[in-house]
């Protein structure tokens, strides 16, 4: 099949907070081809994790969902029971803090083989062999010993590799990775990223990689989706994002980060703070209140996500600002 593996179309999600429904995602649309790695980048409240949760059918109870998510051509919104369990076998998720997502009183082997034994009926000894093999794939050589151990007996880096191995055991087609290296040391992060990149190529895995770090996403992703206030601001080839962004927010995000190769006299901070979808203006550009390039036209209507130079940008001035976004004027 050459069609897209995942199609998110007009996804809008509202969650009930203190009795009032609040928008957390607004009209999210993107597709992923089989084997593609897509980065989902944004700050707190941008909706990046919520997008992954919606795809994994892991939204909190009572969430109001509009639009559609299709996996391999079929809508996942209506799945339940055995069909939902089958879907979840094909879509695996790894999280930021491995310790928060593993039962501390169960052995690693028990945790890793559970899905194989209970969902797929694989005999226990065979499941353990497969688990040990998969641990070797993520660079853990003494797999059989690790399977007998408990989570507290290993470092965060080893535990995150175990989570990745566990996620891949059921041979999922899509991996949702939600900031999987944020809690790790930088040297460990580099190793885990290399492992993810290698597995992606070896297994033909499709990966949605969620992060707040533009450059980290660029390291393993083909395309990057930049989110702001529950909306997509920009979609761009990852390799072009840093030097040639299409949206002022992407440019501002890259410019605000301190640079390891030089000390800036002052960092180009973005004024104000990142907004959540429910706080952001809906009849104008959501980034306009913080944007150094904002003009009256930006406040007249919510810009559409429009094609530009091989990418997409939700900025009415995107065309006019081509090539100028690197020089951020003082607001």
């Amino acid at each position: 099949m050459n069609g897209p593996l995942l199609e998110v179309d007009g996804l809008t999600v509202l969650l009930e907070v203190e009795g009032t429904p609040r928008t957390v995602l607004r009209d999210i649309s993107f597709t992923m081809r089989p084997g593609e790695a897509v980065g989902l980048v944004g700050e707190s409240g941008s909706g990046k994790s919520m997008t992954a949760r919606a795809i994994g059918r892991l939204l909190p109870r009572g969430a109001e969902v509009h639009g559609s998510i299709r996996f391999s051509g079929s809508d996942i919104g209506s799945l339940s029971g055995a069909a939902l369990r089958r879907y979840r076998g094909q879509v695996a998720m790894i999280f930021q803090d491995p310790r928060a997502h593993i039962n501390p009183v169960r052995r690693i082997g028990d945790f890793m083989t559970e899905a194989l034994r209970t969902n797929l009926g694989v005999p226990a000894d065979q499941a353990r062999r497969r688990a040990a093999d998969m641990l070797a794939q993520v660079g853990i050589e003494d797999g059989t010993r690790r399977l007998r151990q408990y989570p507290h007996q290993m470092s965060g880096g080893i535990l995150q590799r175990i989570m990745i191995a566990a996620a891949l055991l059921t041979e999922p087609r899509l991996l949702l990775a939600d900031e999987p290296t944020t809690a790790l040391d930088v040297t460990t992060q580099a190793e885990v990223m290399a492992i993810l990149d290698g597995l992606r190529q070896d297994f033909g895995l499709t990966v949605l990689f969620i992060t707040h770090d533009l450059e980290l996403a660029a390291a393993i992703c083909d395309r990057t989706v930049v989110m702001y206030a529950g909306q997509i601001a920009e979609v761009r080839a990852s390799s072009l994002l840093h030097d040639d962004p299409l949206h002022p927010y992407t440019a501002a995000l890259a410019a605000a980060r301190p640079d390891i190769t030089q000390t800036a006299h002052r960092l180009r901070a973005i004024p104000g703070r990142p907004l959540s979808a429910f706080e952001a203006p809906t009849a104008e550009c959501a980034f306009a209140p913080r944007c150094p390039h904002a003009r009256d036209i930006c406040r007249e209507a919510l810009p559409v996500l429009a094609e530009l130079d091989g990418g997409l940008s939700r900025c009415v001035r995107a065309h006019e600002l081509r090539g100028q976004l690197q020089e951020v004027p003082r607001a």
Binding site: H212, A256, R257, I260, R273
Partner: protein, 265 residues
């Protein structure tokens, strides 16, 4: 411009900390001249936070000395007066702005309490100073009167910085103080910290794993690996031309445009 030959505000010599059989910090020494910034760089388990806790007085060194503003602080204080004096020498801003503030105190009350304790000023003078401090860290009137739960992470960290500055410390320890902030907010707080240093002559000890943040805020750095200093020098030089294999590996692991993660053999 700070005088590099002036007597150091902070001097750490032969510092060692053991937890049972584990040596968390092993023979660490450094000096911090007034008005300068020193980074202590390292990953988890390197001992960097243990050093910060010993300087503040939350841990007692197994061996070695810590001298701040000419006073030894490697041993516990004997009197409340000495404890307050130590508070005016060294203050700390922690990583997590969600757990380091009292949930029942507004920013104003938090800062006022420190002023009352350390300076004993009358109410009018304290009120004026609270206003100055909240303005210095960029909190508006509403935020200054708000409880932590209605403030964002960046705003809470500003409250924590204002509270630390209220004691008018000679040394401010920043223990991963910008690590939990969003990139756009982190830039605001880093600019704020640079402004405060220019205006108050406070010295910073920045505990961080983030080399780009280290470059932005500090003049000198020491690199810690498993409790030991493996490299020291000018921050710019260490990052541009790292000498120790561990520093090189740390430097090579930082994502940057065109970076490809490599598996270690």
């Amino acid at each position: 411009m700070p005088d590099p030959d002036a007597a150091p505000v902070l001097e750490v010599a032969g510092l060692r900390k053991e937890f049972g059989d584990l040596v968390a910090v092993d023979d660490v020494s450094f000096v911090l001249p007034p008005g300068r910034s020193l980074a202590i760089v390292g990953e988890s388990g390197s001992g960097k936070t243990t050093i910060a806790r010993m300087i503040v007085g939350l841990e007692r060194p197994t061996r070695g000395t810590i001298t701040a503003c000419g006073h030894d602080r490697s041993r516990p204080v004997k009197s409340a007066r000495d404890r307050r004096r130590r508070g005016r020498e060294v203050q700390i801003v922690f990583q997590d702005p969600y757990t380091s503030l009292d949930p029942r105190q507004t920013a104003e009350v938090t800062i006022d309490e420190v002023l009352r304790l350390h300076h004993g000023w009358p109410a009018g003078r304290r009120r004026a100073r609270v206003a100055e401090l909240t303005e210095l860290v960029g909190l508006d009137d509403r935020q200054a009167r708000a409880l932590p739960r209605s403030l964002s992470g960046g705003q809470r960290q500003r409250v924590a910085i204002a509270r630390a500055l209220a004691a008018e410390p000679a040394i401010l320890i920043l223990d991963e103080s910008v690590a939990a902030l969003d990139v756009s907010i982190q830039a605001q707080v880093l600019n704020l910290l640079a402004d405060i240093r220019d205006e108050t002559a406070v010295s910073y000890v920045l505990i961080s794993h983030d080399l780009a943040v280290v470059r932005q805020l500090t003049d000198e750095a020491i690199v810690l690996h498993r409790g030991e200093v493996v490299e020291r020098g000018r921050t710019a030089q260490i990052l541009d031309d790292p000498q120790h294999p561990y520093t090189r590996r740390l430097r090579a692991s930082v994502p940057r445009p065109g970076w490809k993660p490599a598996r270690r053999a």
